[in-house]
Amino acid sequence: MKKNKFCEPEFRLIKKLLLTMRICLFFLLISVASVYASVGYSQNTKLSLNLRNATIQELIKEIENQSEFIFVFYDNALDLTQRINLKVENLPVEKILEKALESTGNTFAVFDRQIVIGKKNQTITGGVVTGVVEVQQKKEITGVVLDKQNQSIPGVSIVIKGTTSGTITDANGKFRLPYTGDAKVLVFSFVGMKSQEVTVAGRNNIHVVLEDQTVGLDEVVAVGYGVQKKESVTAAISTVNTKDLRRSSASNLSTALAGQLPGLTVMQSSGQPGNDAVKFYLRGVSTLNNSSPLILIDGVPRSDLDKLDPNEVASISILKDASATAVFGVRGANGVILVTTRRGDEGKSELNITVNQSYQQFLVHNDRIHSWDFAELRNQAFRNSNPTASESDLPFTQYMIDKYRSGEDRVFYPDRDVYHDYFRDWAPQTRVNANFNGGGKNFTYFLNAGYIGQGGNFKTESKSFLGYDPSYRMDRYNFRGNIDYKIASNLKASLNMATYLQQMNTPQNLDLFNGSVDGMVQNMMAYTWATPPTDPGPVTVAGYGVPVNEIVAQSGQDRNTYGEINRRGYSEEYSTVLNSSLALDWGLDFITKGLSAKGLVAFDSHASTVRQGVRSLNTFAFSVARDANGKSGYSAIRDNQDNSIRLSKSMSTYYFMNYQVSLNYARKFGVHSVTAMFLHQRDNWDKWAADLPYNVIGYVGRLTYGYDDRYLGEINFGYNGSEQFAPNKRFGSFPAFSLGWVASNESFLKDNPLITHLKFRASYGITGNDKLGDNRFLYQSFINMGAGEIPGLGLGQSINQGRMGNESLQWEKAEKKNLGMDLNLFNNLTLTVDLFNEHRDKILISRSTIPVLQGVPISNIPKVNIGVVDNHGYEIELAYNKVINPDLSFNIKGNFNYNKNTVKFADEVKYGEEYAYPYRSTGYSIGQKFGYQIDYSNGNGYVNTAEELAALPTYEVGGKVRLGDFKYVDVTKDGKINDRDLVPMGYPMVPRITYGLSGTLNYKNFDLSFVFSGIAQSSINYNGWGATEFGLVGFFSDWHFQAWTPERYANNEKILYPALGMAPGVSQKSNNFFIMNRSFLRLKNIEIGYSMPKNILNKAGINRVRFYANGNNLFTWDKLPVNTIDPEQDESLVYPLTKMVSLGVNLTF
């Protein structure tokens, strides 16, 4: 193999990096402009004053009233009682102060909104007044100011109450406040944050956590079609904020949710660039149909969660109980995930740039097996199945094994490191993000641009060699602008525009895989795994009379992966997504106070183009001499094949539209607070296939009442119509009721220092699920024409009597109950507990108790709403925040979730008396596995001796029992092992237990964060690729070395696997060996960051520079006995999940 072939892709990557750098530069330029703009607050803020004989103190107060300026000065720096006269019109503050302080002997400096006043001979820099030489007794208070996420806040003003002396915090949120005299109480204030008074009480070191203005009593959470004050929420809702999501360097936002939200199970099932599929389960599964939750991005159902850049997201909430989801009516039963993207903050102007370079590696890979070991294991397998086999029958003769060992002919007796033939150890990922955030009183904006480039782990040949690029890679560009504009004092317009451009490059998948990338990946992984290290290849070498560098098919096949990924062509998929919405919010206080109206139109479009270049290739077979007389060589399997690329292209587009209009009311009458909402909404969307557009309409209502912030009541109501049902069955109502009691607001708990917050919640309601599978209009009977067998009959057409309709078809009905408690102790320990119970009724299922012989195919018999599933469980979330000292603070958050479902009715056929278990699903959890129980009574579960073999019951499970196979329990005691002996074993595939633990630690300029995520009580039947030894011509991993052999048994050695075989036998059945416990705990993410000290940065106009190193999926603790499969995967033949290490820098201007 010529080395230089592999160089080209790397070079391409560098060019890509340069391009993204240029993009960054562009943003940098804009940001510099915006820095000037921010300095300009003082210039742009024009004030008019008319003061006669006023004191300086009154002047300061007046300026503070009219603007956002905050004054900072030392007591003795300024004579506040000095009187001045001043009349100015529309002047910037600098000019005003110049005039006012002309006579006072003071100087000043403006830092954004801070105005520092010093004595004439002082220099004022960076917001800290220096050069003060105090003769008086010097006292000093130091400390740190953090926000709730434990991020330091620079620029917080600290004033000693009752005085005007104070300071502001530096870049790391630290302050040093020298003072004289008495300082009893400090006042901390910062724009956008709640001011806080702190009693000094003799301390000289104080740390303070400031809360957002919206935090606390005013904190709101996203709920269905709106927001609600957190304090008044009575439903089961959990939220994760952007900071916790942005830490993960995973390419997919969905994967970053793992372990973060109590009640949400996130399982990533593939690591394929641009296509890493993630499954969500909200409180497990409660239906036999589609159980995926409804996902809304900014209030609109959207499927682009995978494509969102974590930097665009402000928060993600999950709505779990009926009270939260009833408003979604017919689509709410599986729970709802609400994604809110970021918006501009008033009075802020900030540019964030993040550049991140990662390298990823497959989490699992094949063990390195040497060719001679492979040959011997294969022979061992052969002998186990054919004890009388002669040497010449064996797959590998001793002559061959000696050749493999000696290494004298590496062309035909190689020792291939197959894994490294096909994969590189580390694949790069580059990520760049820039976002602006800011605005004034009337106009706020959030702009985001992101790029992610992911290179695949497959090694591919270079474009210069092939003429095309077959590599696996994905480039995605994200752009978003979220803009809010106050047209008038009571009218606000909000525009969201987001686009995603994604380019995915893979080898061609048209030929053999019908355009399915998944199919190709599955096949490719299989072939890659199952290339034996004894196979010559992947390409022909000179000297054997055939063309050089042609593909050598792997044993027993007519192709190999190398040929498939390199020589067959390429596929380029371009997809563009536009998500847009325009909302108008109109205050109707002129009608009645507290009334407002809102309208929203959303339009999304998706388009994708796939261009495939396909070519055929020549393939050669090899033959390897089995003895000294034989001759090794190549022979053509396919030759003279067309070598030119054939191009084809396919395109698809689809759209989604959503309209919402609503009337909202919120008002407080004394101790009574009332809110109401009425909304009409309509969705209309189109899908990929030639199909009619889809339509859903709904009416939504919400009424909340709170008495004295102690007693809360809420009614939610959804009235939906879906075209999937017959006209008289289309609309359904979904009501939910909930109550809350804020015990901590009762007089007996009011100022309790221990229990700072305590709320009890209860809800009950009905929601629906209209996800009835891919078939639409199930209420109608279908008779269609299709091509017939006989061309001469009926114009060659035939009548397909398809599905019969069911007029009384309905949606699934979920009856949900939830009990919850929110507790906060000492203001820093939070506990949330939710218990839930769900009864899912009217699940639409196929009848399975109708005999086939009546002749209507069962699939055409109308489905009926008769399935019943129960589900119950709980979630616990515990969080703890602590600031130990200004340099050291941490928080830690953990959650634990349990759910268990039971199929109550599935119209299942009951097997006869002779079956140990007459049902396969009724009475069990969804996806219950059945298998043969291994009889461990002899200690190891294997058939160890000829006596044991002779004494076995008759095996009717397929294949002959051999020594070293599993002993199965004859459950029915009929002397036979067959499918009547199957017993339920293991847990369902969807985990019953999910848990997560995350935390952050800040020490001086360093920060550390981590997220662990785990599942338990989940089983999977890994009884194929990656586990067994059979892939194509044999696949061995480490544990097969310790397979049962008579010698190992006799020597009392460890036995990890049944006796090897050439093909699946009685041992490779569904049994409690192969039904594996897939519980795992994974360090999903860990990040260490360092923020540069602010004083270095000021000159460059940079607020913050943070370097960080991040690791994704670095460690996994699992119970699988094999290391070739990752427990998170549902199947073994997928693009493996990856672990990733990255380095990045985050700049804030």
Binding site: I637, R730, R776, V852, K910, G912, D979
Partner: protein, 605 residues
Amino acid sequence: MKHIIYIFLLFIFFQLNSCTDALDKAPDGNMQLDEVLSDADKTEALVNSLYSNIPRKGYMYFFFDPAVVACCDDGWSSEDGAGQLVDQYYKDNTSASNHPMRDFSDGHGGNNNAYWDRCWKQIRLCSQFLELADKAAMNDEANRGRFKAEAHVMRAFFYMELVKWFGKLPVLDATVPFDADFSKLSRQSVYDVAKLIVADCDAALGESTLPWRIDTDGNGGRATKALACALKSEAMMFAASPLHNEGKNYWEEAYQISKESVQQLKANGYELFTVCTQPNVFGKSPAAAFRQLVDQNADYSGSPRDKETIFQTRSGGLFVWHIGYIGSNMANTYKCGTCPTQELVDAFETIDGKPVLDLTKPYLDEKHLDPNYNKANTLYNPSDPYANRDPRLDQTVLHNGSHILWDNKDVTIQTYTGGAHAPSFDVTNRSFSRTGYYHCKMVTPGACGTNQINNSNWKFYRLGETLLNLAEVAANAGHMEEARAAANEVRARSGMPTLLASLSQEELILRIHNERRVELAWEENRYFDLRRWQKPEGDLSETCKWLTATVITKKADGSFTYTRRNISGNARGGWQNKDLLLPLPLTEASLLESVTGQKWQNQGW
């Protein structure tokens, strides 16, 4: 400002207005049955649907392997390590809930799975058409009778397919609503089913508008009176066979029906294909016509070349030269598929019409390693086993020393150890035979990568088979003369001498059984024949449990020695008593058992 408010109000108005009919989107292109029946073309399309789900058989099983052949004693598939259909079957990986022969499909459109579901669906469609035909619009009133006759024949056809796999069946001659009361339903005897088949076929034979032969290509594959005759003959033969007769003797009845069928077929232009029309392709062997018949599609015309084929599928012939022929890494081949066993080779008589082995007990040992040579045979030489054999051997089997044409070059088959086509006993090797033989019967001579010729569409019924049905039922019913005559007619075509009148009834029956094996090899009859010849308590341990290959060693002087060996050291699956019939799908049997309180499942499952 005002404008915005107006737009806003307008928007709300538009919203509330537009939603009233938003949900009334009916799917396009949907119709109801009345519409179908009122349109003559659609009525014909409804008739066309009666021909759906016809199995394609032959090479259309999993990965183009002739699975039914591979699972009888004629063949052994080199897919035996691939974990798929035959592999599972060979390993007895069969149960009522999952049976490879019944359930396995690779989606190639062969319809070769889910027989229970497919056939019952078609039976209902036939019954439904018979119930609706009188109401249906017709392009030509004469069609009504023909269409009804076709529905009768096709109902018989699908019942026959079910009987072959499953045995006894409930006899439903009318549609049943899916939510009917099934508690009174029961499995009736194969004889009862055969009676329904005969009645359906007789109804069709009585219809003047139903033709005997299809003479235009566009109508190829439609039912004919000839098909009705073939079905009657086969159905009664099954009903009379030991596995199905429930202790009763139906041979005479079967004989009468079979005799009448053959007479009618011959009277209406059906005859054996005896003269090869393309000797340049098929050679000058006495069996060249036999080879041409099975390799080429029957033609649809008033005076067809092939007047023997009674019913063939419309499509399904495919390239097999690279996946079901010589394999052995020959240029552009992929695998060799199913190969003939030594047992099949042993079945071919010598040219003098004498069996090679003693048919009463062909092998002296359980594992077939010790052949019981027919002492009366003086022509057979175990050191030169392929000389002086029935000409059909060379047209069915490639053996050491056979010649084939490959890429315009003559290739001599070398199956001796070290030869280019030597067998491999590594189950993962799909390119080489396990038996020492390769199959050639369905492959047109000369087919290869540079001469890609489809094999024939599957021939369900041909006169040669119906004649052998007659021979078998006549011999069993004691009509020796007619039995011999029917068999001799088939043998004569390939240059084999007549069966002697001196044969006893038992001897004649064995010879006719053997004749079926030789003449109908690779045509999927053997699998069912072996089963129906067993009594219900019998099994296939003598035929299908142990199978042999021939290992040939080339000596220094260029001569060969021939050794028999078992292909596998383990018994092959599929020989037990329960394997005489397929299990009903587990859920179906369980369901019907719980509804009717009777046993529905086949014995042993």
